[in-house]
């Protein structure tokens, strides 16, 4: 088996394990998400595998619940980004003219503002909740999806088979969903994986800065912040949630790399 495939299998196994753990958090985690079950800052032990935090909550349990929150939020935001980005991007390419121009410039405008600062500003004004986080991250990430979807579609729209469909008198809906999207779909799917990694990082950054999910809800970014002071005492515990973020991101990228190589090989045939 080529190295690429081996790595992809490892990546897929990791993703599977992380997702299963997150989905079944209430059954897998030894303690509740917010239950105070021990003394403050207990060290690693058989009872509390990764010790406890400042108010005696089990850190392993909070990491498992935190995974569910972080992944769920990032997934929902990525789906929203793809829905907005690919629909508008493909429509801009197919319709062309002023529609393309207006959508393209609006997109540039959004992209020109630094993402993190823009998100911080909006979340400070409207307040942070799971829904506002999904909406804000979804819209901001959709700008990148828009660009990709538009550029993929532009090269497809100028192919002869789309011309043939226009000459046949097909509707806009048929051209977008039956002629263009099926062709751009594999590339969009690969981008979905990458965008998902970035969104996890984005969600975690916001949480780390205190504008993500609000306490006492656990998520990986917040867990790093809550326990950051332990680093000063030579305790590696705050690195664990950071490691979980890194592990998931790398795993997703391994699968995406394999998938991209596969679709490139196929299109080269």
């Amino acid at each position: 088996m080529p190295l690429e495939t081996v790595l992809a299998v490892i990546g897929a196994a990791l993703i599977f394990a992380i997702v299963i753990t997150a989905l079944f958090a209430p059954w897998i985690a030894p303690y509740g998400e917010n239950a105070s079950v021990g003394g403050a800052y207990e060290p690693w032990s058989a009872v509390h595998v990764f010790g406890t935090d400042s108010i005696g909550r089990d850190i392993l349990s909070r990491m498992i619940y935190g995974g569910r929150n972080t992944i769920g939020l990032a997934f929902a935001a990525t789906c929203l980004a793809f829905f907005i980005g690919s629909a508008l991007g493909t429509a801009a390419a197919v319709l062309g003219g002023w529609v393309d121009l207006v959508l393209g410039r609006l997109n540039d405008l959004l992209m020109a503002i630094p993402q993190l600062i823009f998100a911080l500003l909006i979340l400070t004004v409207v307040g942070s909740s799971a829904y506002t986080l999904i909406a804000v991250i979804g819209v901001l990430e959709s700008t990148r999806v828009f660009r990709l979807a538009r550029s993929l579609s532009v090269s497809i729209v100028h192919q002869d088979f789309v011309e043939v469909a226009k000459l046949r008198g097909e509707s806009l809906g048929w051209i977008v969903f039956r002629e263009v999207v099926p062709v751009s779909f594999p590339n969009l799917l690969a981008e979905f994986g990458l965008r998902f990694s970035f969104t996890i990082l984005f969600v975690s950054s916001l949480s780390f800065l205190g504008l993500g999910l609000q306490p006492p809800t656990a998520d990986w970014g917040a867990l790093v912040r809550e326990n950051a002071s332990l680093i000063a005492f030579g305790d590696v515990t705050p690195l664990l949630p950071a490691g979980a973020i890194a592990l998931l991101t790398v795993a997703v990228n391994l699968v995406v790399d394999w998938y991209l190589a596969k679709i490139r090989r196929r299109s080269a045939l």
């Binding site: 088979f161 011309e163 226009k166 000459l167 046949r168």
Partner: protein, 544 residues
Amino acid sequence: MSDNQLLKISGLRVEVPSPKGNSTILHDVGLTLNRGEVLGLIGESGAGKSTLGLAAAGFVKPGCAITGGSILFDGKELVGMDRTLLEKLRGVRVAYVAQSASASFNPSFQLGAQCAETALQHHLMSGNEADARVQELFAEMMLPNPEQIVFRYPHQVSGGQLQRAMTAMAMVCRPDLIIFDEPTTALDVTTQVGVLASIRSIVEHYGTAAIYVTHDLAVVAQMADRIMVMKNGRMVEQATTREMLSNPKEEYTKSLWSIRNFKTDERSRDAEALVMQIKGINAAYGSHAVLNDINFDVPKARTVAIVGESGSGKSTLARVITGLHPPVSGSIKFEDKPLAGHVSKRSRYELESVQIIHQYPDKALNPRQRIGDIIARPLRLYFGLKGEELRGRVRQILQTLELDPDQMYNRLPHELSGGQKQRVCIGRALAAKPKVIICDEVTSALDQVVAEGILKTLVRIQQEFGVSYVVITHDIGLVQAIADEVVVLKSGNIIEAGSKSQVLSPPFAEYTQLLLASTPEMDPDWLTNLLHARAGEKLANESL
């Protein structure tokens, strides 16, 4: 090995390794080449001729591997040779000229600098020497104003000039062997003649050996001393050019030779039965006029050929007729009723009636749709067919096109060969029950054997269904084969129009004469005679 022998390839095997088993591109092929000899490699695409040509430089394309045999170049074994040694050989003693010069030059460097690069890279000349050498070669390749053209960028010169510059680039280090990979295939016939002549003279002048890869038999007849015919990665036969042309031995070679003999008889119009009338069409891109006052008729069940070189406006004409590019002025009448300029304003019946078949079947078929669905779509959209009735009709169309419905129905386009794909495109057009089909260079992306099959199918369909064709082409041979009426187009103007016998027999219009004379013939002396004749004319003109 005799001293005179430059290259000896024996038992060469090239494969594409894959986990599902290797696929073989070359099966134990051998060839020998003497110094100063020109070998023509011909065969259809996929025959392995380019792979064999490149192997002469010890090179295989990424993804392929040499798995057996030997390549002896001037007594040195290239198979398994160290990479750095091979790099010293390439460009210096073996050079390569690719099909598409425009894709091979870097657009951001001047031509002269790019041509001199190989010599400088290998430290064979000083900068000044290399520049002088490039100018000298440009002059020998008959490029106009060589001292100025070295400072031009690739987009500032024509396709023919670029191809000449590329040959000059290959010649800079005076290699022993040049590999030409279809160097004139992308050029117009009138340009091709000049490029062929200068390639031939420079190769003769320096006594360079060459491998000339092409699928055009008439071209290879002008260029090569010896011809080798290939099919499916194997050698079919080889002989000297004259012998090969006059006396081919293998069936496959004979079938290649006979292609150019396919010809339908011209039929005159059925009294006044016109499907389409094109009157006074002017078209432009922005302020740039592309078509000026175009007039012609399309008679029922006949073939009208629009012939011209690239830039003549013939593809724009196709877009005007189909309604993709509305004309500035003029009218198109279909069955005596005016046809709207833009496709969105045409009725369903008008959309059905005018169909188009494109040059590249790869681009004309959606790679994600199955063959059955592609042909079914017009039937469903226009005639509302469903279920068994629909499937039955699709199968019937596939059979008409000599495609096996059981095999083809559920395949995706990339699982088909080029010729099969083009048949599917014809099938999709036919499904709409059209009155006129526009054929835009439908055979130029296909091999000659496959192209002939497509032409025969088109002719049969015309007889069966009474459809009219507007054939857009640059190939006079194609016009001679299937046209009834001919329109000659140059720079957006009609030069000549009429029945085939009228246009393609004397007295000719001047441009038609030029097109006809520039089309290579299967006679090895054709180019020599043509050049003599033209030189004679020039002398005569000068003395007047």
